[in-house]
């Protein structure tokens, strides 16, 4: 009887988890689709290589040894634990007990032992992460944008992890105690022998609390992730696939402007293109998220808020307002705000706000030296620079908001073909000057 009730309860919770997760996932998908279309499907071979090297292989993480090793523990534990999760779902639905045990036998013991050892390593890593954030106060976790929710989020994930591992051990050691060590798990065996003397009913309750506690937490976590920087555990993989494969120094071309300039300079082309003149001139650059590439929006949802970018940024490092991590967080906040507003007031609602001005100030983007340090450092293939450059294009081409000194430089280039005011005829004078 209790088996059927547990089975039904499990199915209900599983259904609700799936429903809410898919609902939020669809919302995020729609948000990313707000972005401008950009075809990123070339060279699949190189892209898969990036998925294996950058995401599975954590290549960029290893630019920074300590956090890389700590993270590796949590990451590998997570990947391997998926085996156990499959079993828990099967056991939950069919009310079997350790479904894989009779099938796998000794291999089962090996896998669970492996998971238990990794879980302990992950637990140690988690405490180290907590210490790095709260006690050691690693500078990149202390910048201005890391107060309030982002700070809490960072700690909550780690607390989740601790409780999760506790439940796993509660379940396994009670199970070992009840079955007199039959499964042969080393670590939970040690814990199990310590509680073997407890009444059977208590052990059953402990096993059930551990089992339900674990799975409910996993389900809860699954629905927490889409609101958190922890979303990277899913999106780091597609984001590595869609990573930029060109030289980092290359800025994206603007075909509309290219065509216009080329037809201006070539009278024949202008004649051919006369039909195109009627076409509505597109808006240049980006003032809001819908004018950024969808990849930039995927970037924003993938960001782990680790701050490696800002720690390497010459502007952040010299006290300027610009912080590339904040750029990524602002883009995500903007998408989430738009979703909320549209849910409340209908899909065509406009709040009169823009990404530039209301979320990111012109002062921030002006401070960027386009040095690519942020892009180089990001372990999950994000380019804050792309967003900054698209916003700059809007500022100059649409808002005509340019520093006076830049206007002077533009005028020089336009009038005399050099960034400074020199006569073009004097360009080779250096040959004869002392």
């Amino acid at each position: 009887m209790t088996a059927i009730i547990q089975s039904i309860l499990f199915l209900i919770v599983l259904g609700l988890t799936g429903f809410f997760f898919l609902k939020k996932a669809r919302e995020i998908y729609k948000n990313i689709k707000r972005g401008k279309a950009e075809d990123i499907s070339d060279r699949p071979g190189e892209r898969w290589k990036n998925v294996f090297l950058l995401a599975f292989g954590q290549k960029k993480m290893f630019r920074n040894m300590t956090p890389a090793l700590l993270h590796l523990c949590v990451y590998v534990a997570f990947l391997v634990t998926q085996v156990e999760l499959i079993e828990i779902v099967i056991d939950g639905i069919f009310q079997t007990h350790r479904f894989f045990y009779p099938i796998l036998g000794g291999l089962y013991t090996f896998v669970i032992n492996f998971i238990e050892i990794l879980s302990v390593l992950a637990l140690i890593a988690t405490f180290a992460f907590l210490a790095r954030r709260n006690l050691l106060k690693i500078p990149r976790f202390q910048m201005d944008e890391m107060t309030g929710w982002p700070k809490l989020d960072g700690n909550l994930i780690l607390l989740f992890e601790i409780v999760l591992v506790t439940f796993i051990f509660m379940m396994n050691s009670a199970d070992m105690a009840m079955h007199h060590g039959e499964y042969g798990f080393w670590l939970s065996g040690i814990l199990g022998s310590a509680i073997e003397g407890l009444p059977h009913g208590v052990l059953v309750a402990m096993e059930r609390i551990g089992w339900w506690g674990h799975i409910l937490l996993v389900f809860g976590f699954l629905n927490y992730i889409p609101y958190s920087k922890h979303l990277h555990i899913m999106l780091a993989f597609p984001n590595a696939y869609y990573a930029n494969l060109e030289s980092k120094g290359e800025m994206s071309n603007m075909p509309a402007i290219m065509k216009e300039v080329q037809s201006m300079m070539d009278p024949n082309a202008a004649m051919d293109d006369s039909a195109a003149v009627d076409e509505e001139m597109p808006s240049f650059g980006a003032k809001d998220v819908d004018e950024l590439s969808w990849k930039s929006l995927l970037d924003a949802y993938t960001c782990t808020e680790c701050g490696r970018c800002s720690a390497a940024c010459p502007a952040s490092g010299t006290g300027k307002l610009l912080s590339p991590r904040k750029i990524m967080m602002d883009v995500r906040d903007r998408m989430e705000d738009l979703t909320k507003l549209e849910a409340k007031h209908g899909p065509d609602h406009k709040d009169g706000k823009m990404l530039i001005g209301d979320y990111i100030s012109p002062e921030e983007i002006k401070a960027c030296t386009t040095c690519n340090a942020c892009v180089e450092e990001c372990p999950v293939s994000i380019s804050p620079l792309n967003i900054i450059l698209e916003l700059r294009r809007y500022q100059i081409l649409e808002a005509a908001d340019s520093p006076e000194e830049w206007n002077l430089m533009f005028t020089n280039v336009e009038n005399n073909g050099a960034v400074w005011q020199f006569n073009p005829a004097d360009r080779a004078n250096w040959i004869n000057e002392a």
């Binding site: 216009e260 650059g285 010299t318 294009r393 830049w406 073009p424 250096w430 004869n432």
Partner: protein
């Protein structure tokens, strides 16, 4: 031959004689007009002359590649510059370009192809290393720089943007000097503060200027010479060192100048 003993052929003269250069030397705005960078231009030309490389410059026909305009956000101006330059380069059927400016290098190499300008583009450090490898440029060992401590500042547009880290270092090794790395080097190198059109405006408010921050790294390494491969890095670090009144102890020099000096070409 010029009054300075330089042999700098103009592309238009070569074309008039129906001749073609092995390589076009793209001098750039800084290399043409900035008094500090002009010295680098001359040093590079002296090496080319000494080795006997058949090159030419565009002279008055060269104009800004459009890099700073594009990075400031002014795509129209960039496209105008690119179209003009591509027209000039194609008219002379240029195939190969060498330049001493990483910004010109990056733009010509990575951004002109989509616009129809396809050239083999080489930074002068890679070009000089090629000359050494081919045996055309023979370094005189044990000379000018023996026992000197030299450090190298990676320019963003050579390093991270184009993954060129080795050629400049190989050249410095050929100088027989002691190469010391800065705290932040190679792909972790800190910007000098000039890129992204920052060179042409005041910095935003902050606690320091970027070149002051980078100068701290330089002073920490205690070099005799800071080698650079970019005219803008040269200006920024030169200013930073001067501000700390260390210009007598620490010289900021382009690698081409160091090579020319080692070859007694200066």
């Amino acid at each position: 031959m010029s009054e300075n003993g330089l042999d700098v052929p103009m592309m238009s003269d070569l074309a008039a004689r129906g001749e073609k250069p092995e390589v076009l030397f793209w001098v750039g705005c800084a290399g043409s007009f900035d008094s500090r960078a002009q010295k680098v231009t001359k040093a590079f030309v002296k090496i080319l002359n000494a080795v006997g490389v058949k090159f030419a410059i565009l002279g008055p026909e060269e104009t800004c590649t459009g890099d700073p305009a594009r990075r400031a956000g002014n795509e129209f101006l960039f496209q105008m510059q690119a179209a003009t330059n591509i027209m000039t380069l194609d008219q002379y059927e240029i195939k190969k370009i060498v330049t001493a400016c990483p910004h010109c290098f990056n733009t010509l190499k990575n951004e002109y192809p989509v616009l129809g300008g396809n050239y083999e583009v080489i930074h002068h450090t890679t070009f000089l290393q090629g000359l050494i490898n081919e045996g055309k440029l023979k370094m005189k060992g044990g000379g000018t720089f023996k026992g000197k401590k030299i450090t190298y500042h990676d320019s963003c547009y050579l390093g991270r943007a184009n993954n060129i880290y080795e050629a400049p270092r190989k050249l410095l090794e050929a100088l027989d000097a002691e190469l010391v790395e800065l705290k932040r080097c190679r792909s972790k190198g800190l910007c000098c503060g000039a890129g992204g059109a920052q060179m042409f405006k005041e910095e935003e408010n902050g606690s320091l200027r970027v070149n002051q921050e980078r100068t701290k790294d330089v002073l920490e390494a205690k070099p005799d010479i800071v080698a650079v491969g970019c005219p803008f890095c040269s200006t920024m670090l030169g200013d930073g060192v001067k501000e700390k009144e260390k210009q007598d102890q620490i010289q900021v020099k382009d690698i081409a100048e160091l090579i020319a000096e080692a070859q007694d070409l200066d």
